[in-house]
């Protein structure tokens, strides 16, 4: 009989990984925003990451320095409001989530597609493979899209997602989060990530969030509650800015 994999064991592994990273940085290793793809506390990563180093490519003609574009035909006016996609109102705490998408130089990423998906207020996805026995909400699907504006800003209206269990280890619970998918001006800037909520007691236990071993990088995945974004008698507001990675050089075509 195998010993059940406890949160205690996973938390030890999380602490070991974080200490090893901090020690490496102290002796001169570069700081890293992104998680290590081979992060064993997240067990599903073990067989799904390359064992060989990535091949660095310095090619100013690389196609990846350009990227797809999206336009008004790709989104409809209601796509950013996840509370208005059904006949009735979804259950849960209504929230607005807004922020800006920027590149590494702080320039706004304009007119690009932002996609979100999330569990409902009970922690259940409207996905057929989600078998968490929490109730589905007939008035909530949890999928939204928008294009960033000229300042790189995006905005979604939704409900706060619930935590949900998963099977990484015994009593594993994902903190509340919204999945975000972002496009920059180059394919190299592509990013899929997750936004978390401040003060969530589950943040420390979650190997997916904790895979980001750099403390300040990890904090960048947590939105800020912004009282000025809250609407009286209606909704609470969160602000979350996103900075896309990618090379300084992006491929520019005349007239773009």
């Amino acid at each position: 009989m195998t010993t059940p994999l406890t949160q205690g064991r996973i938390s030890e592994e999380i602490a070991e990984r974080r200490e090893a990273y901090t020690k490496a940085v102290t002796v001169g290793a570069p700081e890293r925003s992104h998680p290590d793809r081979g992060y064993a506390p997240y067990r599903s990563s073990v067989l799904r990451h390359p064992g060989k180093p990535l091949v660095a490519l310095h090619d100013p003609e690389a196609v990846e320095l350009s990227g797809p574009v999206f336009g008004v035909t790709d989104v409809t006016a209601l796509d950013h409001d996840l509370t208005r996609q059904h006949q009735g109102e979804p259950l849960g705490e209504r929230i607005k989530v807004t922020g800006r998408v920027l590149d590494r130089d702080g320039r706004p990423v304009r007119g690009q597609l932002v996609e979100v998906w999330q569990a409902n207020a009970s922690g259940r996805y409207a996905h057929q493979r989600d078998d968490h026995p929490a109730p589905l909400d007939p008035n909530f699907t949890g999928v939204g899209r928008c294009l960033t504006d000229d300042q790189g800003a995006y905005e979604f209206v939704t409900v706060k997602p619930g935590a949900y269990p998963w099977r990484n280890h015994v009593n594993a619970w994902r903190p509340a989060h919204i999945h975000f998918s972002l496009f920059g001006n180059a394919f190299t800037q592509r990013l899929i990530t997750q936004m978390y909520f401040p003060g969530d007691p589950l943040l420390a236990y979650d190997p997916i969030l904790q895979s980001v071993t750099d403390d300040s990088a990890r904090e960048r995945l947590v939105a800020a509650y912004d009282h000025d974004l809250s609407t009286p008698e209606w909704s609470l507001g969160y602000r979350w800015d996103i900075v896309l990675d990618g090379p300084a050089a992006t491929w520019i075509e005349e007239g773009r």
Binding site: S33, H34, P35, R37, S44, L47, R48, H49, P50, G51, K52, L54, V55, A56, L57, D59, E61, A62, V63, E64, S66, G67, P68, V69, F70, G71, V72, T73, D74, V75, T76, D79, R104, D105, G106, E115, V116, W117, A119, Y125, A126, H127, R145, H179, S181, F187, T188, I192, I208, S211, D214, S216, A217, R220, L221, V243, L244, P247, E253, R256
Partner: protein, 188 residues
Amino acid sequence: MSTTPSQTVGPFYGYALPFAKGGEIAPAGHPDALAVHGYVYDGAGAPVPDALIEIWQPAPDGSRRGAPGSLRRDPVTGAVIGRSDVGFTGFGRVGTDADGHYELRTMPPGGVPYLSVIVFARGLLHHLHTRIYLPGLTDTVTDPLLAGLEPERRATLLAVAHGERLHRFDIRLQGDAEHEETVFLAFD
């Protein structure tokens, strides 16, 4: 500015990200269209049924501007109605099926011999870039990426032609005893 970290796409993107005709990059019925299909495997050689593949490429005329409309919507019903056959968007997105299989139909890329690929998957904390090189278009001696790779590594980037317009391209997220790991790319 400090960048926002990546996180896994997770298991439940399937009802959110894939869209109708996501793998149909070529205009319907175009005589020059080519098909690429293959499997995504993990380090135990098992197929990965929850990977998401994205493709980006120049238009056949070499333009890298792309066109909007990959997810073209009906303004009344909101339903995705797919690309128009007017603008070539150059962008495709397909999930793997229960067998870890994907397929797409596109046009030959103009000016380069490859399709750019991003792989996302449950279990993969940060996506991976690779390229599908099309054998009929590729000169392995002069290509700046392929020329620098050992032959067995280079082979992982070359699609295998099955007939004139059908290509097979498998992706191995991690090598195993018998199989070479796919070459993944870093741009900096």
